[in-house]
């Protein structure tokens, strides 16, 4: 699992976050988050609304200073060296913040002045590919066209790090595909790095090679995507007698069901199958869990929202 390190030169690190915490009042938006993103990777960030994804991305952009812990982008502190760091980042958020009064071609000129490494040929090629009229006022563009323009603006200076915060929220499948293609082009082109957050797990699955899952400000999972998938199994259990209490299964992350039929999402290596049999249960099906099931399991397994049995089995 770990031996493959393709398309990546040495062990260069694009982003390093160490023990980052951030509170808003009494609420911990980020709680002791640590991870690194090697260059040339597509790092998928998942989590519910309010899990801390945008807060984390804003720290990477240097918009917020780390309360405790450190944030390094290309080895630099994005708060201390904003122009250097931002010049190497392309950023697109759910609501691209574009000047509505400008024309498309004016925006491209403006951005060229802003980014020393702006590639006008590339920008023009993308504009044509996205079917954007150069003479159109930005405020007259549809939501999908604005998203494409935002993507163009984030990409045309060939950033070493592309940061996408819920880029495909509320967009139609065609624009979503453009965004995914941009991600793939970014990593194939020059081995650049992408970090993107999404609640669309099949998008994450399609393009990411690394998965991080935030839940209530805490990093629940952070590993190569294949490893995450290999590590989680879904077991369908059937018990001889109906149960009023969920079965206690060692290695389970989430248990759901009723009566005789129960489903366990758990850790492949530590699920205790003999114990299930001793408990009067038989395994009807044992298959890899989907990312969706893994996500829901980890979300529900939170001590705050889950039943006490879940803490008991862990």
């Amino acid at each position: 699992m770990r031996e493959h390190e393709p398309l990546e030169s040495a062990s260069e690190i694009a982003v390093a976050v160490n023990h980052l915490s951030r509170s808003f009042g009494s609420r911990k938006a980020l709680n002791d988050v640590s991870f690194t993103v090697p260059r040339g990777r597509v790092f998928g960030l998942v989590g519910e609304n309010g899990a801390g994804k945008s807060t984390l991305i804003k720290h990477l952009l240097g918009l917020w200073r780390a309360e405790t812990g450190t944030v390094r982008v290309f080895g630099l502190d994005p708060v201390a060296a904003p122009t250097t760091v931002l010049g190497r980042i392309g950023y697109l958020s759910e609501q691209p913040d574009l000047p509505g009064w400008m024309r498309v071609d004016e925006l491209l000129q403006y951005l060229q002045a802003f980014y020393p490494r702006w590639d006008m040929d590339y920008a023009e090629a993308l504009r044509e590919q996205f079917g954007l009229d150069p003479a159109a006022r930005i405020k007259t563009l549809s939501k999908g066209q604005q998203a494409k323009l935002g993507l163009l603006a984030a990409q045309a200076h060939r950033p070493e790090l592309l940061l996408l915060d819920e880029p495909s929220s509320g967009l139609d499948p065609i624009v979503r595909r453009d965004i995914l293609e941009a991600i793939i082009r970014t990593v194939t082109d020059e081995g650049h790095t992408v970090i993107f957050s999404s609640h669309l797990l099949d998008e994450i699955e399609r393009v990411s090679d690394h998965l991080a899952m935030l839940h209530e400000g805490t990093l629940r999972l952070c590993a190569p995507l294949d490893e995450v998938k290999m590590r989680h199994r879904r077991l369908s259990l059937r018990f001889e007698r109906p149960r009023t209490e969920p079965p206690r299964v060692r290695g389970a992350i989430a248990v759901s069901g009723a009566g005789r039929a129960w489903t366990v999402i758990g850790d492949a290596a530590s699920i205790d199958r003999p114990a299930i049999a001793r408990d009067g249960g038989s395994v009807l099906d044992d298959s890899p869990a989907s990312l969706d099931e893994i996500f829901v399991a980890h979300t529900e397994a939170s001590p705050a929202t889950a039943g006490s049995h879940l803490r008991a089995v862990n």
Binding site: H4, P6, L7, V42, R177, L180, E181, I184, R185, V187, T188, L201, D202, E203, E205, R206, V207, S208, D209, L225, D226, K229, M230, R234, S287, P288, A289, S290, L291, D292
Partner: protein, 134 residues
């Protein structure tokens, strides 16, 4: 090559889905011996999947001796890979002559089928025992 359909939301990792698809295409002769597979970059961009996913699938094909990686020029299906359909064609006359000889011993169809299944089951057990020892 037939269009590749990957299902990201299934439990099977994408690289395995891609690997199975390519193996199947090569075995059925949809991709011929000596043919070049699309570059990692092209495959990743066409399928809109992570290039590392393609690299992993190609590496497994290489490990299984199905393709060769030629540095700087690409990934090629090995000349020695015989499409499964061709193999099946070769198998037909062998089986025909075996069944002819069994029939000449006055065995019934049912008996021949049982003998065949018996033989296959014995071989399967022997294989599993060997694997377990290894």
């Amino acid at each position: 090559m037939t269009p590749i359909r990957l299902n990201p939301s299934s439990g099977t990792p994408l690289y395995l889905q891609l690997l199975e698809h390519l193996k199947h295409s090569i075995e059925t002769g949809a991709i011929r011996a000596g043919e070049q597979l699309p570059s990692v970059r092209k495959m990743a961009e066409d399928l809109v999947i992570n290039p590392n996913t393609v690299v992993r699938a190609y590496r497994d094909l290489e490990r299984d001796g199905i393709v060769v990686l030629k540095h700087g020029s690409g990934v090629f299906v090995r000349g020695s890979v015989v499409p499964r359909t061709d193999l099946m064609k070769k198998a037909e006359p062998i089986l025909r002559s075996a069944v002819d000889r069994l029939e000449s011993l006055d065995l019934t169809e049912e008996e021949i089928r049982r003998l065949m299944e018996n033989e296959l089951a014995l071989r399967r057990t022997a294989k599993q025992t060997r694997k377990r020892r290894a």
